[in-house]
């Protein structure tokens, strides 16, 4: 087990290097730092000194891969590639264009993100699983049909509409909760309740559609038929046989997103004014701050790989037949 985890973490390294190189190529090889400076400062009437100043302030005034002017190890380390991407591996993200330290921002902003994303994840999962169980219980009936119609319809609506509509109904029309905002103590609850509800609703349709299929697949297996033949009641079949067995593929399937919950949701956070990592990323994208975007890309791929590892481990816990070697 431990050797497996160790080996898998070791495998993650080339993938992270690949991610790193890919983002580096995307950011620095399609457009040279000079072109980035020009685009940021405006195209016309721009002096070479201003471009140089801009590059120097952000550490872009170095060669891409090899610095011929330096000696020894510095030929490799005093380059944009080393300074901007290799340092990401020790979680040294550098500074934003406004001069704030990105790592501090991440540490500060991941908690508000988690405060929204975790309840949405847990409640959403519970609600979807519960409803899909009910649906499977009444399978091949008008009830199932109508629930599935509603689910397909809900699944076909962009999350933007849920947020805008929810803010309009709950925030403006009925004035139940504040439309947006955040404070950093227990009083935040009144700000969090609406994004959580909307998050659960917008994930509901897709969730039920998938979980229903998983439970249906399970419901057609032999042990269910045996249980029914023994005369076990439908409710007991549902909760004692079907539920735990159907839960295995569902839980192992969603484990991969757990580490990424820290990153929050881009759209929800910026709509509700929650100072989490999602709105941080959006601010970075909107102000064309490449260092923020690059750090977030790296961070989220680290978390994704962590999620994959957790998925494998969760298989062994959920299903003793699976052994990791």
């Amino acid at each position: 087990m431990w050797s497996y985890i160790f080996r898998r973490s070791f495998y993650a390294l080339p993938i992270l290097i690949g991610v790193n190189f890919f983002t580096f190529a995307l950011f620095f090889m399609i457009n040279s730092p000079d072109q980035m400076a020009q685009a940021q400062l405006g195209i016309k009437h721009i002096s070479p000194e201003a471009v140089h100043e801009w590059k120097k302030a952000r550490g872009y005034d170095r060669p891409l891969f090899f610095n011929d002017e330096k000696n020894g190890l510095d030929t490799v380390t005093k380059t944009i590639f080393f300074e901007k991407s290799v340092r990401l591996f020790i979680f040294d993200f550098g500074k934003t264009d406004e001069g704030r330290v990105i790592l501090d921002e991440i540490k500060k902003r991941m908690w508000p993100s988690l405060a929204v994303a975790l309840p949405v994840f847990v409640v959403g999962l519970a609600v979807s699983i519960f409803v899909s169980l009910i649906v499977v219980m009444f399978r091949a009936s008008l009830f199932e049909f109508s629930v599935m119609v509603v689910c397909v319809a809900m699944f076909s609506i962009s999350s933007m509409f849920y947020i805008i509509g929810g803010q309009f109904l709950f925030g403006k029309l009925w004035s139940l909760v504040p439309v947006s905002g955040f404070i950093a103590d227990i009083g935040a609850l009144k700000f969090l309740i609406l994004p959580i509800i909307i998050g659960v609703i917008s994930g509901f349709g897709g969730g039920v559609r998938i979980y229903r299929i998983i439970f249906l697949e399970e419901a057609n297996k032999d042990y269910i038929r045996t249980a029914r033949a023994k005369g076990v009641s439908e409710l007991a079949i549902l909760f004692r046989h079907l539920f735990p067995n159907g839960l295995i593929p569902i839980l192992t399937g969603v484990v991969v997103v757990i580490p990424t919950l820290f990153l929050g949701s881009l759209v929800t956070e910026s709509f509700f004014g929650i100072p989490g990592l999602g709105s941080f990323t959006i601010d970075g994208i909107r102000s064309q701050d490449f260092s923020i975007v690059r750090s977030m890309v790296f961070l989220s791929s680290v978390l994704y790989i962590l999620g994959l590892l957790l998925t494998d481990i969760s298989y062994t816990i959920a299903d003793p037949r699976v052994r990791l070697t």
């Binding site: 399609i30 685009a39 609506i157 559609r209 998938i210 399937g253 990153l263 881009l266 759209v267 994208i285």
Partner: protein
């Protein structure tokens, strides 16, 4: 003479449609595939959703034939100057809706503006009131005539629509009777839907020339016109992204599963790396980079529409880049399974080359995965566009798209009284498309792969 404007996205979409039509007519699908498609179209739902998708695609194709109109010529020079405005064939159908800009917001079917202005009365006095719209209902004398006018115009349009659609449906039924007697299609519901579509379209064309059916937005542009023009963006984004993704997925997925060993390792590494970057961040990062590229190469794009088109195509390519990994993984697994089968071994033993085995024995047996995942991905792309527009990395702001409509309208609900028509029409147009695509893809999936693959969305 009009001057045709050809965009790269236009070429690609027509190429795609022609290739698909060609593939279906020349490469006779196997009887099994035919039976599967028949299963899709036999059901009323599958047939009707397919027709709605076809309507959207048809509008998108009409909107992909662009041209510029010449400006009225002056006496002195024989040289013809062209208007900067790029029109499409679709604009010719909706010619009544062109160039009908108001000053600002107006409600659906309104003849008065939505905000008060200073107006001089006939006697020269200044007072504040809602001014009449410049175009919407300008043929009316006052508000009392409005309902009667709308009613009579609607009646006329319905009458016209029923005549046109009954001629259309009648000829279809006639053709069916003579040539395709006993066809499997649910003809009645299909004809009914066709009639509704044709009548509705005629109604829109007739009334759109006199009123702003869905009101106007902040800058006074007709909301319905915008929503219709956005169809092209939505459809092209979904189909072209698939066009970019499918070849990658097929080549990499099959070669990984077929050749195994080092090739497999390399390809697995490639797609794990790509899929470990979250889609939305990858798209955002790439769009930022492309923006910078466009900023620095403005001289390459002499018309605004070329610039928007370049960005649009780049966006499609990135969508494709983010979505091929899922399909690639599925194709690899399926190829691993298929390439173990006896007939593949037999073919190899007879000396058929690798390319021969792949194209003749493996590709046809994994093709259903490609079809299913392409249809499944389509609706996801359409939905994702609106999110990207909000983040600020969507299609160019000069391009009509539902995402841009929602983005500019999202503050309007908080006004008092709320302005609901802009966002509602974007919602309805998008919802109909995505819902039909989802229902259709469910049907396709059920027909082609009744057992496996149902969980495909779990890992997205």
């Amino acid at each position: 003479m009009i001057k045709p404007i050809v965009l790269w996205s236009d070429i690609l979409i027509f190429l795609l449609v022609l290739t698909l039509v060609g593939l279906f007519t020349y490469l006779k699908p196997s009887s099994e595939t035919q039976a599967n498609w028949r299963k899709v179209f036999e059901s009323r739902l599958g047939c009707c959703t397919f027709m709605i998708l076809c309507l959207y695609i048809f509008i998108a194709l009409l909107d992909s034939l662009h041209f510029q109109k010449p400006l009225p010529s002056t006496m002195e020079s024989s040289q013809v100057f062209y208007s900067n405005e790029v029109l499409s064939i679709l604009d010719l159908i909706h010619v009544g809706m062109l160039d009908k800009e108001e000053k600002t917001y107006s409600a659906p079917f309104a003849i008065y503006s939505y905000s008060k202005e200073n107006i001089f009365s006939d006697s020269g006095q200044l007072y504040r009131d809602f001014p009449r719209l410049i175009h919407g209902g300008s043929h009316l004398r006052d508000d009392s005539e409005r309902m009667k006018d709308i009613f009579s115009k609607t009646l006329f349009a319905l009458f016209k629509g029923i005549i046109v659609s009954s001629v259309l449906i009648g000829s279809i039924l006639l053709i069916r009777r003579t040539y395709f007697y006993g066809t499997f299609l649910p003809v009645n519901s299909a004809c009914l839907l066709l009639g509704i579509i044709v009548t509705g379209w005629i109604w829109v064309v007739e009334l759109g020339a006199y009123y702003h059916i869905l009101g106007t937005n902040k800058v006074g542009a007709d909301v319905l016109y915008q929503a219709i023009k956005s169809i092209r963006t939505g459809i092209l984004l979904g189909t072209l992204a698939a066009l970019f993704a499918v070849p990658f997925a097929i080549v990499f997925g099959i070669s990984a599963g077929y050749f195994k060993g080092k090739v497999d390792d390399a390809i697995q590494y490639l797609y794990t790396t790509l899929s470990s970057i979250p889609d939305i961040l990858l798209i955002a990062a790439a769009v930022l980079v492309i923006d910078v590229y466009i900023e620095n190469h403005t001289d390459k794009f002499d018309l605004l529409i070329y610039r928007a088109d370049f960005k649009f195509l780049a966006l499609c390519a990135i969508f494709g880049l983010t979505s091929w990994t899922g399909l690639c993984r599925l194709l690899r697994a399926e190829t691993l399974k298929v390439s173990q089968l006896d007939y593949v071994n037999a073919a190899r033993a007879f000396g058929v080359s690798h390319t021969g085995v792949i194209t003749r024995h493996i590709l046809p047996n994994v093709m259903h995965l490609v079809i299913i995942s392409t249809v499944l991905n389509f609706s996801g792309f359409v939905l994702a566009e609106s999110v990207l527009a909000y983040i600020g990395v969507g299609v160019d702001a000069s391009m009509n798209s539902w995402g841009n409509m929602i983005n500019s309208a999202r503050q309007e609900l908080s006004r008092d009284p709320a302005i609901w028509w802009s966002i509602l029409s974007a919602f309805v147009f998008m919802f109909i498309l995505v819902l039909s695509a989802n229902l259709f893809s469910d049907k396709v999936r059920d027909a082609f792969d009744p057992r496996g693959l149902r969980r495909m969305r779990l890992d997205l």
